[in-house]
Amino acid sequence: MGAPVVCERLELSTPWLQELRSAEQSSAADFAATTGLGGGHAVAESAREDQAISASRPVVPKSQELVYELKIGEIMTRDPVVVGPDCLMSELKEILRVRRISGVPVVDNGSLVGIISIEDLIVALEKGETSARVGDKMTRQVQTVYADESVIQAVTKFARYGYGRLPVVDRSGRLVGIVTQGDIVRGLLRQLDVQWQEEEIHRYRASHIFEDIESDQTGLVLRYKVTARDFVRGGEASSKLKKALERLGGEPQLVRRVAVAAYEAETNLIIHTDNGGDLIAEVQPDRIRVVALDTGPGIPDVEMALRPGFSTAPDWIRELGFGAGMGLNNIKSCADEMRLESRVGVGTRLEAVFYLPGRREKEAA
């Protein structure tokens, strides 16, 4: 079998597996280094798939997440081949050869009593014990995993015990499947592929909005209503705005600056206004403009309001951790332009503008 060569290739070509290993400390130590003999062909395919995936996007965090999210039952081989304890080693040899597998659980009267592998068979063949019973040569202390456990449980057990396969049982102890390291690799890749394709489609649709739509000036306006004194929902508008900008393919640092400014503006609407207000983000090809609008009470001294540490927030609001007098300064330091206009009894308009990277390059050129 070509498995060992395939394993080398797999390991070299899968940095995310190595990351997975380091993330799980030693638990996944032998995860990629050894692969179930029976998994050779499929793993070779997986390695190619993996190269294709890793070339187009970093998959490390996703694969780490997946080993927790995916259940063993979703990736295991169902209805595995089993043998009884009275099966002879010579019969076992034929079963392994014909089914192209490297080990089978031993079941007696419906319950799992042991496991026998190709390694046990080789030892028996060397000793000329072809007519020995499987029941006498099998491993009795069987490590099992539950079908409803996370894949990480199987990864950990493979690393700890060095087995090529683990029988999978349900909570009543009934054998429901078998899992190999090859199953895990295939399961993860399949899931990554599915999620990646879904995500790519969404991202493509969102990030091409400005290229696909032609007009003299294209803009996307996102408007959020902010309710005065509603601290429980505080941050919801800016959180939604942040997610929208991420969807639109915004560069993370820029998205962060807009989100921080939007959060401070939103908080000001919650704390200081009579009737709440609107948080409006206008996304244009070259800039993002965030405007916070309210209908009062208005700021008596705008210059004073902009002074770091100056705050008019009452004590009860300060106790919540607000009112540090830093909100407007935060907005100013995040934004490329900021304007604050206010009239007592009328309302306040705060505008923060963020240039998109493309614009700066154009201006420099």
Partner: protein, 114 residues
């Protein structure tokens, strides 16, 4: 060092965000004023505070923090917990003071957040 390592080392109680404990901690930040956290804490940081209301979760989510450690045994209100569950924000709690937690984090080699 992951959040999980920190939980083990400081014997913290995991209140929410069980699924995100394998995240690497990029640094630490401590303050009880949200605007200060907003200005200074960075993605992947652990924020130590005794504030425990829903807006802490909003800040943590917006900044993509690795975790929030709520000190002095303050219990977050149900709205905060629910929001944290929705946003996948890791909330941890400890009876220790902010100072003690920060000292311990420094001893573990967690740098100031930046």
């Amino acid at each position: 060092m992951t959040v999980q390592d920190l939980v083990a080392a400081l014997r913290l109680k995991v209140l929410t965000g069980e699924a995100a404990l394998q995240r690497e901690v990029s640094g630490g930040y401590a303050a009880d004023l949200l605007s200060c956290a907003m200005a200074r804490a960075r993605a992947g940081n652990v924020w130590v505070t005794l504030q425990a209301h829903a807006n802490v979760v909003a800040v943590a989510s917006l900044l993509d923090l690795a975790a929030v450690i709520i000190t002095e045994g303050v219990e977050p209100d149900p709205a905060a917990r629910q929001k944290a569950d929705e946003e996948g924000v890791v909330l941890l709690s400890t009876p220790q003071t902010t100072y003690a937690v920060v000292a311990e984090m420094a001893r573990l080699g967690i740098p100031a957040g930046s």
